[in-house]
Amino acid sequence: MSEFPDFLRFEIGIYVDNFVKWLMHNHGEFFDAISKGILWFLLNIEKFLLWLPWWLALVLIFIIGWRSKNLRNGLTFTFLIFIVGTFGLWDYMMMTLAIVLTSVFISLLLGIPMGIFMAYSSRLNIIMRPILDGMQTMPSFVYLIPALMLFDMGKVPAIFATTIYAIPPVLRLTDLGIRRVPKEMVEAAHSFGSSSWQTLTKVQLPQALPTIMTGINQTTMMALAMVVIASMIGAKGLGLEVLKAIQHIDIARGFEAGISIVFLAIIIDRVSQGIANRFKYPE
């Protein structure tokens, strides 16, 4: 048997560790500030969701489902959420939802402008494309490592990892949506003397909106998938319940938490799709 030679071992981990330490030492305030900002945002959302009386939440879900699609959807969603409540997982569901909403918010805040820049700059596009490909092919687990390194355990690294995992779709689809605006339409805008900003806001973004909405839908779904995994670094919620169930081989608890995640996923998907469809123009 031939073993890989010992003298060829290159321990890159130490260097990365040192780099992170250096980063924390010299730019600690920067990460602290981010951390505080994210946490403040998250806690407020969480506080609101946990404050919300359960019956009011059900009414809200009904209205959202009804307005975004139809009456039947509203009733179905209300029923699904009600079931989750009967499992005794109400608060966990709200915690998960808070993290998803925060991550999606940050993803859109960064992803849409970056997508626009990508659409405008072929060079940026060439640089970003392999990075995005990498981000999407990488197992989602891997994102936990840099999140841990930079933000330690807790909710902030969970949001950080979730955001990184969830941002590619909205970024890509913003880029695609803007690039796909017919050339003549952009020329028409220019031919009337529009500035670049006017062309972007009056023609390109409205045209790209249905595509961007699809991106938002996908980003939301990926955020939900990642939040479950992010429970491994300390995000409380439905994911943590599943994790605990695995550790204790508690099938009952695992099933309840798991099916709750599925319900949540169905509702978020349908609602965001319903909203996206509203942005389509008559053909």
């Binding site: 003549e184 123009y281 008559p282």
Partner: protein, 390 residues
């Protein structure tokens, strides 16, 4: 009249470093060689022309001839690699960003082949777009837009979306959007190519109507030579980025400059291009009503014709007499005005031959071409109608 647009030696090359290609072009290297060797595409090659105020100037060429590239130079959607473009005496290539915006907002508007309508806006909001960009107050801009839409026959369609309209109607919206800004110059990039033949003819007529009302300077691109000759007061024929000939349709028909143009002209339906005034000739013999019968007979005998038109002192057409009637009248002592006949065809100078063909085949007398005051301008005989078609 006056010159509105003056294009001087404009060249447009696409690629990484367009300026580096200029010397090659000047040496006369062909487009294909340049593309193969350097990867640069030559769109327009050293083109110069002038467009008069209020004129419809047509640029005709097949796909790849550079006509669309050229028209986009005129509002700087394409910035020429070299050359000058004067509009009202100002070289627009020297404009800074602000001047360019103002120029595009006020002086020039474009109509596109595939309409270029904003599908996320209603018809009305499409037409409003240019005014919105100019910062015209909301109430005023909607009023202008409604009026413009009505003037292209789209009243009642304001709140529809472009995709709910037929192709012809969509292009009307495109036209209204361009006209709403009241530009001096209309750039039309194959505006009717995507329409079916019937609608196309209708739109061409509509454009001529609009033009007779508004007197814009129109630069019109087409690949259809029949369309070019129908609409254009002057036509420029482009090939491989070069203008081969600029002339009026008649001049091009009469004297095509080279084989390429000759081939084009062969395809043309002359009956839709040539008008009465192009084929009529000044009558070699005419009789005035006061001349009397004897002179009339003498005129006919001298010219070897069997009938002759009779006019008054203002050259107003009174009628026609035949040699047989004249001789008989002379014997029976009748007057010239007693034997005038009127069963000949008359037409205006701008009638197309197409419409003259049935007249020419039916009538045994020549066709009289008259102006609006009934003055005789010329006559057309059957032979000249038919001979001009081949």
């Amino acid at each position: 009249m006056g010159i509105k647009v003056k294009v001087e030696n404009v060249t447009k090359i696409f690629g990484r470093n367009p300026k580096s290609i200029l010397p090659k072009i000047k040496k006369g290297t062909s487009k294909e060689t340049i593309l193969a060797e350097t990867g640069h595409a030559v769109g327009v090659n050293n083109v110069s022309f002038e467009v008069n105020k209020g004129e419809i100037f047509v640029i005709m060429g097949l796909s790849g001839s550079g006509k669309s590239t050229l028209i986009r130079c005129l509002n700087l959607l394409n910035k020429p690699t070299e050359g000058k473009i004067f509009i009202d005496g100002e070289n627009i290539i020297d404009y800074d960003n602000k001047q360019l915006k103002e120029f595009r907002q006020k002086k020039v508007a474009m109509v596109f082949q595939h309409f270029g309508l904003f599908t996320h806006r209603t018809v009305l909001n499409n037409v409003v777009y240019g005014l919105e960009i100019r910062g015209i107050p909301e109430e005023e801009r909607y009023e202008i837009a409604r009026k413009t839409l009505a003037s292209v026959g789209l009243e009642g369609w304001e709140d529809k979306y472009p995709n709910q309209l037929s192709g012809g109607m969509q292009q009307r919206v495109g036209l209204a959007r361009a006209l709403a800004n009241d530009p001096d110059i209309l750039l039309m990039d194959e505006p009717f190519s995507a329409l079916d033949p019937l609608i196309k003819r209708e739109m061409q007529q509509e454009l001529l109507d609009i033009q007779s009302r508004l007197k814009k300077t129109i630069i019109f691109i087409t690949h259809d030579i029949n369309e070019a000759f129908k609409l254009g007061e002057r036509v420029a024929i482009m090939k491989d980025g070069i203008i081969e000939q600029i002339d009026t349709p008649d001049e091009i028909l009469a004297a095509p400059k080279n084989e390429y143009i000759k081939n084009f002209v062969r395809d043309i339906d002359r009956s839709k291009i040539l008008q009465a005034k192009n084929i009529m000739f000044k009558p070699s013999a005419l009789v005035s009503i006061k001349d009397g019968l004897k002179i009339a007979i003498k005129e006919m005998e001298q010219s070897g014709i069997s009938s002759i038109f009779v006019v008054d002192t203002d050259r107003k057409l009174l009628g026609l007499i035949t040699i047989d009637d004249a001789l008989k009248a002379l014997k029976e002592n009748h007057k010239l005005k007693d034997i005038l006949i009127h069963d000949y065809f008359t037409t205006g100078p701008e009638t197309y031959i197409q419409e003259l063909i049935p007249m020419a085949t039916e009538s045994k007398y020549p066709i009289a071409v008259m102006d609006e005051e009934n003055r005789l301008l010329g006559i057309i005989v059957r032979v000249s109608v038919l001979s001009n078609l081949v």
